[in-house]
Amino acid sequence: MNMGEKTRRDFPILSRIVNGHPLVFLDSAASSQKPTQVIEAVQHYYQTSHANVHRALHTLGEEATERYEAARDAVRAFIGAPSREEIVFTRGTTEGINLVAQAIGRTLQPGDEIVVTEMEHHSNLIPWQMVCRDRGAIIRAIPVVGEGYLDLDAFARLLSPRTRVVAVAHVSNVLGTINPIARIAEPAHGAGALVVVDGAQAVPHLPVDVTALGADFYAFSGHKMLGPTGVGVLYGRREILAGLEPAWGGGEMIKEVWIDHAQWNDLPWRFEPGTPPIAGAVGLQAAIEYLGKLGMSQVTAHEQALTAATMDALAPIPGVTLYGPRNPEMKGAVVAFNVEGLHPHDGAALLDQRGIAVRAGHHCAQPLMKRLGIVGTLRASFSVYNTAEDIRRLAEAVAALRGEL
């Protein structure tokens, strides 16, 4: 676990003392911390090159545009997208999925079907519920079985000529399950459906190649992958994007405008109305470069070791229940658990008293909580900067929890 010790010093916030204890930050699945390299890139951009992008005829505007569009190229290469026209900057995963849902929603007919999964984050469920309600379409869900895997046999039976979209998380934000996107995309495409992937919990932790996965759309957030808040990415396969009407209107997404109609701009700007998150994109590029230097395969190996160590440390503690796959190779950088007799919110508050930050609650996945028959869980999640010592402190504190209330 040398990566954690080495990278820690790049993250100034990790030297904070919280409630009298050195901070142990185990909530990166909600939002990761930022290395100095990202903070300084954003600061440098604001101090030297900020102006609005595109259409600017002055030096700063040109520099800002250059930085912003360079970030797009960095994103394209990082996720293996064939072309820069397929990279749309958004405010985050949620906006990306809403964009797709709104745009595809306009083409839905009554009786059309959207397939989701029981483990979706609300951000990959509610946007589909909303368009289904508007268009008289129907939501179907792939069941979660066993330790937390999708029932692919059930999925095969759910597919029909009415299936328009299959919306699925690449990595569950609760169970950690790494879903077999390529194995889902193939039959989905066979049925004529589009595949929309929520990659929020995958891109920060795994090497991702959207082409190899067979995703038609792939959304993720900057702030969960060491980048700034307020920036995200929607990858959309060019043939599909080109055929969709823009979800939202405004400046920058047009070529020419008359009082009663307009001609849309080229890809990807057609889907980026208004002033985009310029500094966010600059910071995201710095984050991508940071992760690139570490190597995504090394990041995955480091975090899988932490995930395995956490499950090994927590499982023997009396009263502890673990959720999700027990095989760390099938799992992202997250471990959800409960302590018998203790509400997760009380558990998180007590851990915070020891300087340990974990998430607690339903994790915006209420259908999954209902499926598991629980109100919520505690959740420890990891990033490049976590160490074996963090896990030791967590396990020590969890073992003491039941005596504290």
């Binding site: 919110h345 009380d346 609650g361 209330l405």
Partner: protein
């Protein structure tokens, strides 16, 4: 002040007013949007007074203690007392350093109690 006072720990471990009432005069249930926790309050009334009340639900220690103290404060009181009680009254009894993020846990039982009394009024 401690995060979880002795009052909260005691009420969480040994609630006095947890349970259900058969054929209640009033009943309501609501959800804490923070966590999805449910609290239900049921009660009997006579001559405009709360003669008996019980709460139930899977909830955190703060909500549990808040509900238990609230029903203790209401027992034997005129129903109108529920309109006068505030979260400040509950906070005083809870004697804990409640963070802003957990204020909804304190307030939820009061919301549910008022809804229950309204359900009775519209019977």
């Amino acid at each position: 002040m401690a995060l979880y006072s002795n009052v909260i720990r005691d009420r969480f471990r040994k609630p006095r007013f947890r349970g259900a009432i058969e054929r209640p005069d009033m009943s309501a249930e609501d959800v804490n949007p923070l966590c999805g926790d449910r609290v239900r309050i049921q009660g009997r009334l006579a001559d405009g007074r709360v003669t008996e009340a019980r709460w139930s639900g899977d909830c955190c220690a703060i909500s549990a203690a808040s509900a238990d103290l609230l029903l203790e404060m209401m027992e034997g009181q005129p129903a109108s007392r529920a309109g006068e009680l505030t979260t400040a009254n509950l906070l005083e009894r809870l004697d804990s350093d409640i963070r802003p993020s957990r204020m909804k846990c304190v307030a939820l039982p009061l919301t549910v109690l008022r809804a229950a009394l309204e359900s009775e009024a519209t019977r």
